[in-house]
């Protein structure tokens, strides 16, 4: 087991308490792609900050590779190296004079040599699709919003984490930037074997990418399963103020009107084929009736 959360409860402001998480039990294995969804305020951001010790749970334990991460606070540095966390609007954390220096901040903090740092910066920038020679000496503050975000993500990737957590990374990006980001996540997951936890409000993203979906509601895990299982529970999701992916919605509506289609399909091409096949089936049954 890579990550394990055990009976977690988290309360903010102990004297004016806000219970952000309660009764959380979650296990994550190496190589999973977890989609974490839930209404605003349901505790998603709190949950992921527990995973690398930025927050300590009020009760319960967090295990990483079998080790209680809060037992020995001194080893936190090591854990933060292995679990990269990209915060919401990560571009707000940029501060160095040049892109290269900013990306090198993490590697510098963990004490890597100059050569190793430069190598990491090159790799990280390349991963996020920014040309090293072109961007390394530019000020991060003169870049476009989308480029800034990619630099910030490179800053986390430069630590070569084993687990990458992203808190609503596509919020505020244009469709093209969003697509590139998703392509990057697929690459990191499939080619570099990173374990990924993605918080997102876009059900399409989660449905297409995640191997497992975890739904949070009011500080608790409300639903959990494959995208097909979770998005099959449209009624439950609606009660939690969550939408279905557009495709699922369309397929469900069609099915309700009598078209024989499956509803657990999350790619556009496959959905089209399924609908066409469904239409053909209906035609056939009509033909057989008229004969």
């Amino acid at each position: 087991m890579l990550i394990e959360l055990k009976d977690i409860r988290h309360v903010y402001n102990l004297d004016d308490p806000v219970v952000a998480l309660e009764n959380i039990n979650l296990e994550i294995t190496q190589g999973e792609f977890i989609g974490l969804i839930g209404h605003t305020g349901s505790g998603k951001s709190t949950l992921v900050q527990l995973l690398n010790g930025l927050l300590q749970p009020t009760a319960g334990q967090v295990f990483f590779q079998g080790q209680d991460i809060n037992a020995d606070r001194a080893s936190l540095q090591d854990i933060r190296k292995k679990i990269g966390l990209v915060f919401q609007y990560p571009e707000h954390q940029l501060f160095e004079e040049t892109v290269a220096e900013d990306v090198a901040f993490g590697p510098k903090n963990v004490g890597l040599s100059r050569e190793e740092r430069e190598k990491r910066v090159k790799e990280a920038l390349q991963l996020v699709g920014l040309d090293y020679e072109e961007f390394k000496d530019r000020s991060p503050f003169n870049l476009s919003g989308g480029q800034q975000r990619r630099v910030a993500i490179a800053g986390v990737l430069a630590l070569k984490p084993e687990v990458l957590i992203l808190d609503e990374p596509s919020a505020g990006l244009d469709p093209e930037g969003r697509q590139k980001l998703l392509d990057l996540l697929v690459y990191l997951h499939q080619e570099l074997n990173l374990t990924i936890i993605l918080i997102s409000h876009r059900m399409e993203e989660v449905a297409r990418l995640a191997s497992r979906v975890v739904v949070m509601d009011q500080g608790k895990i409300a639903l959990e399963g494959t995208p097909a299982e979770v998005f099959n529970r449209g009624e439950d999701l609606k009660k939690m103020d969550l939408d279905l992916p557009v495709l699922t919605q369309i397929l469900t509506d069609l099915k309700a009107r009598g078209l024989p289609v499956r509803t657990d399909i999350f790619s556009l091409e496959k959905a089209r084929d399924e609908i066409l096949a469904g239409l053909k089936k209906i035609e056939k049954s009509r033909e057989s009736k008229t004969c």
């Binding site: 900050q49 915060f87 707000h92 901040f105 630590l159």
Partner: protein
């Protein structure tokens, strides 16, 4: 942590302290702060503490929260105490070790300065915790009005102060967020000597300033697009009105102030 700082936060309520006229509250706060710097006996500080606790209870504020607001100045308090202990000379020598020496005057001044800092923060927190930003601006504006004759832009000043107060919690929240983001990249704000620690703050301060400027820009735009012009022609929806109870409380506060300063 940082968000523990209570200055600039407001907890709505219906207590007698909440309902007082903001002008009176500001005046009382000013008087009490002046008194705080005149007191120099244990009795005086004791009485002042009693007064603060009394007001806290009357205002039905969560005392724990107010106390927690003192945590961020802990370092300043310790520093003040240590400096006074070792550097202020006078009276009997209480303790000596090599060139280090603690004298009586040092103990007293150190204690008094610490008491002043803590009580000052508690008293001003009570003001902002029980007065909404809007009331606070109104109060400040009224009190500054006499100075408008000398060309002082009272309304603008009051607006600036309110905005500053209003944004302290926001900026602190922001600071905490940025701090966490840098910690996630392995930054260490908690260890090292003083120079290393100061240097470690750069990754926090630069983004913080940038975000403050961005917020200021956005706020200015938002205010302008709602036709804020400042100046003397602004009228208000709710005129402040002194009640009898306000005056009574004011005189009571003055009497208490005089009383305390006699100790």
């Amino acid at each position: 942590m940082l968000t523990d700082i209570t200055i600039g936060q407001y907890i709505p309520g219906k207590s007698i302290v909440h309902r007082m006229d903001p002008r009176i509250k500001i005046l009382i706060t000013l008087i009490k702060i002046t008194i705080l710097f005149l007191i120099d006996t244990f009795w005086g500080f004791g009485l002042f503490l009693l007064l603060v606790v009394g007001i806290l209870l009357a205002a039905k504020l969560p005392i724990k929260r107010v106390l927690r607001g003192l945590k961020p100045v802990f370092f300043l308090v310790i520093l003040t105490l240590v400096l006074h202990l070792f550097l202020t000379r006078g009276g009997e020598v209480l303790w000596q070790w090599g060139f280090l020496r603690i004298e009586e005057a040092g103990v007293f001044t150190g204690f008094f300065m610490v008491a002043r800092i803590l009580l000052l923060i508690m008293f001003t927190s009570i003001l902002t915790l029980t007065t909404s930003p809007l009331e606070l601006t109104d109060g400040i504006e009224y009190l500054l009005k006499p100075l408008a004759r000398f060309g002082l832009p009272a309304g603008e000043l009051a607006m600036m102060m309110t905005i500053a107060l209003r944004f302290i919690p926001t900026l602190l929240e922001e600071a905490e967020k940025i701090m966490k983001a840098q910690q996630a990249r392995g930054a260490d704000f908690e260890s090292g000597n003083i120079i290393q620690r100061a240097k470690a703050l750069i990754p926090l301060l630069v983004p913080l300033f940038i975000s403050a400027f961005r917020r200021a820009d956005e706020l200015a735009l938002a205010m302008e697009s709602r036709c804020y012009r400042g100046g003397s022609n602004r009228t208000r929806l709710h005129e402040l009105q002194l009640k009898k109870s306000d005056l009574i409380l004011f005189f009571l506060a003055v009497i208490i102030a005089v009383f305390i300063s006699f100790f």
